[in-house]
């Protein structure tokens, strides 16, 4: 992760601003593990399209969108988004935009392992509200 950020920063060394967001597994409700699955034929093209859209909308020099799959435990990183731009405002806004859109644009399903076994996580109303901020 540190290496990914270092490489990204080195690749855009002329950018005036680089912003990074790291999402991690929360230890909510006694969750012991989180498993993420995806559908690559849709997930990867959707992530590429979203990155291109953010790049154009916020005049980015570079964008990094990295999402893990598989079984993760609380405290481990799930998602890393970083943007490089001439000025900080565009870089900050682009990271926010990417995070709000990533969940709906890309197909990821999550289930949580609690004391009594695995439970699928349902969509949240807040995710739709987050998306509407950008319309």
């Amino acid at each position: 992760m540190g290496e990914a950020l270092a490489s990204f920063n080195a690749a855009y060394d002329q950018a005036g601003a680089t912003v990074a967001f790291l999402g991690k597994v929360r230890p909510d409700g006694g969750a012991r593990a989180l498993e993420l699955t995806h559908y690559e034929p849709l997930t990867l093209p959707a992530m590429n399209t979203l990155a291109a859209e953010a790049s154009a909308r916020f005049s980015l020099s570079g964008v990094l969108v990295w999402h893990r799959i598989g079984v993760l435990t609380p405290g481990q990183p799930i998602v890393l988004v970083s943007t490089a731009a001439a000025h900080r405002r565009c870089a900050f806004d682009a990271v926010d935009f990417l995070m709000d859109h990533l969940k709906s644009a890309a197909w990821f399903w999550k289930r949580e392992k609690r004391a009594d076994g695995w439970h699928w996580i349902e969509p949240r109303a807040a995710d739709y509200a987050d998306l509407n901020r950008w319309k």
């Binding site: 999402g23 699955t37 559908y39 034929p41 849709l42 093209p45 799930i78 969940k103 709906s104 890309a106 197909w107 990821f108 399903w109 999550k110 289930r111 699928w120 996580i121 349902e122 969509p123 949240r124 807040a126 995710d127």
Partner: protein, 80 residues
């Protein structure tokens, strides 16, 4: 001559498998008839999307999968 059906997220548990091969071609009625009744009932829910050959169908009842196509059954994605 076959179509691969891929079960994603919670549908994977319901199907008891990640994927299965069925004879091509496959349309919407054919899909509803070939999966387990519990999956067919889920597919009628408007929040379940269907993708064919890498594209999410705007109207899943227009499904027309040919030999070699992959049909993915997509439940709503999880919140975070």
């Amino acid at each position: 001559m076959s179509v691969r059906i891929v079960f994603l997220g919670p549908l994977r548990d319901l199907a008891g498998t990640v994927e299965r091969e069925v004879p091509a071609p496959l349309d919407w009625d054919g899909l509803l008839g070939i999966v387990e009744p519990a999956i067919a009932a889920q597919l009628l829910d408007e929040r379940i999307n269907v993708a064919c050959a890498g594209r999410v169908l705007g109207d899943k009842s227009m499904l027309a999968a040919k030999d070699g196509d992959e049909v993915a059954l997509l439940p709503p994605v999880s919140g975070g």
